[in-house]
Symmetry: C2
Subunit: 218 residues, 2 copies
DNA sequence: GTCTATAATTAGATAGAC
DNA sequence: GTCTATCTAATTATAGAC
C-alpha cells in the first residue's frame, strides 16, 4: 500500500516531513548535549544550535526541557535493546552462559558506539530527582531484575564468578562503560577508547572475568 | 615552641580561627553539591546555604567558583591517598600482587566512604573542559601511569587477568566505584550500597577477578 | 513551523555598611 | 569577615509577526 501525493494523510496518521525531521534533529542534538554537560549544563540554546534550529523551536516541538530529556532516554534505551537483541540473536536461549556473555558484549559494544546513554545515566545517578525516579521505575528496574535473575541462575550452576548479586549490576555497567562514558578524560590520558579491536578485547576480557569457566566457540 | 596569646602571629603565618572554619565548611559543602549536581548544577547559593553561610562569602574566601572546585578536588584526592596508604601500609613492597590488591581495596573502600570524588570525576569526564585538563595533568596522569606500570609487571608474572592495559584503569575504577557514585540510583533499585560487609565483599570479588591466582593470607 | 523579541527567573560576582 | 543589596549576564519559556 502506497500513499499517493495527491491524497495527503490527515488526522492521527498525518506526517509532516519538515517537522518530524526537525524534531528528530533536536532529540539527537539534545542527547549529545545532555550527555556532555548534564541536564543543567545543557542549555536549550546549545541544543538548538547543534540541531541547526532556533531556541524557541524546542518549546514548540516539546512541552519542556524535561520532556525532551525523557525522549532522549527512550531513544537511547531503544537503541540499546536493538544492539543487545542483535548480539543474542541465534543463540540457544537455554544456553544461559552464552546468552549472558552476549548481553555483556552488547553492553560494551553499545557503550562504545553510543556513549551518550551511560554518560546521562552517570550524571543522573548522583542525586535523587524526578528524572531519576522516572528513569528507574520505567526503564531500569526490569533490566536490573532480569540481569540479577540470570546471574543467580549462573551462580547456581557454578558458572559465575563469586560476585554478590547486589554489586553485579553496577560493577558490570561500570566495567563495561566508564571508558567510553569518560572518553574525553581517557583521551587526555593518551587512551583512544574506540581503536580497532580494543572494544572486542574489552568485551572478551569482561566476559572471561565474569564467567571464568565459559569458553565461547569461534 | 608555643605561640603566646599576647603575641599574635602576623603576615603569612597568621591564622584566623573563624575564617578558616568557614572556608573549610564551604569546601565541604561545595564538594557535596558538585558531586550531586555537577559543576553547572551546583549553585553558589546552594553551596553557601549547605555551609550555613551567605552566597557572597564564597567570593570572599575564593577567587571564583572554579577555584573552589579545584580545592574540592585536591581535598578529595588527598583523602584518597591517605586511604590507599593505610591499605598498603605494612605490606612488603616487593610483593606486587599484595600491593596491587591493597590499592584496589583502598579504591573500593574510599569510593564507598567518599562517593563525591568519583561522582565529580564522572561528571567532568564526559566532555573536554579547562577543569578536566587541569584535573588530568595535575592529578590523574601519574596515577594512571602508576597503575598501568603495576599491571604490566603483574601481567609479565602471569598474575594478572588477560586485560589490556588501556582498558584496565577505567574498568577498575568503574567496577570499584559506580555502585557508590550512583548510590541514589542503586537505592531506587532496592540496593543499599553501604550495608555491612558488602563493601569488603565487593573489594574481594574485584581483586579475585583481576588477580585470579592471588590468594590473600588471612 | 519558523522566526524575532521579550518576559520572568536565576546565575556568579561585586559594592559598601557594619 | 559577614551581611544586605544589587549588577550583569544567562537561563527557560512565551507572544506574536510571518
Amino acid at each position: 500500500m502506497v500513499r499517493t501525493a495527491d491524497a495527503p494523510a490527515s488526522g492521527r496518521g498525518r506526517v509532516n516531513r519538515g517537522t518530524e525531521e526537525t524534531r528528530d534533529r533536536l532529540i539527537e542534538a539534545a542527547l549529545v548535549e545532555f550527555a556532555a554537560n548534564g541536564f543543567d549544563g545543557a542549555s536549550t540554546r546549545a541544543i538548538a544550535s547543534r540541531a541547526g534550529a532556533h531556541q524557541p523551536q524546542i518549546n514548540y516541538h516539546f512541552e519542556s526541557k524535561d520532556e525532551l530529556w525523557r525522549l532522549c532516554l527512550e531513544r537511547l534505551l531503544g537503541e540499546l535493546d536493538v544492539v543487545i537483541a542483535e548480539h543474542v540473536a541465534g543463540i540457544d536461549p537455554t544456553d544461559e552462559p552464552a546468552v549472558f556473555a552476549a548481553i555483556i558484549r552488547g553492553l560494551v559494544v553499545f557503550a562504545s558506539r553510543r556513549p551518550e546513554l551511560n554518560r546521562i545515566m552517570m550524571h543522573e545517578g548522583t542525586a535523587p530527582s524526578d528524572r531519576l525516579t522516572w528513569l528507574v521505575s520505567n526503564h531500569l528496574e526490569w533490566r536490573h531484575r532480569d540481569l540479577g535473575r540470570r546471574w543467580i541462575s549462573l551462580t547456581d550452576q557454578a558458572m559465575a564468578a563469586p560476585l554478590p548479586v547486589d554489586v553485579l549490576y553496577h560493577m558490570v555497567i561500570g566495567a563495561a562503560s566508564l571508558l567510553y562514558a569518560n572518553a574525553p578524560e581517557a583521551r587526555l590520558l593518551g587512551i583512544e577508547p574506540d581503536s580497532s579491536g580494543a572494544v572486542a578485547d574489552h568485551a572478551d576480557s569482561l566476559v572471561a572475568m565474569l564467567l571464568p569457566s565459559y569458553r565461547p566457540q569461534h
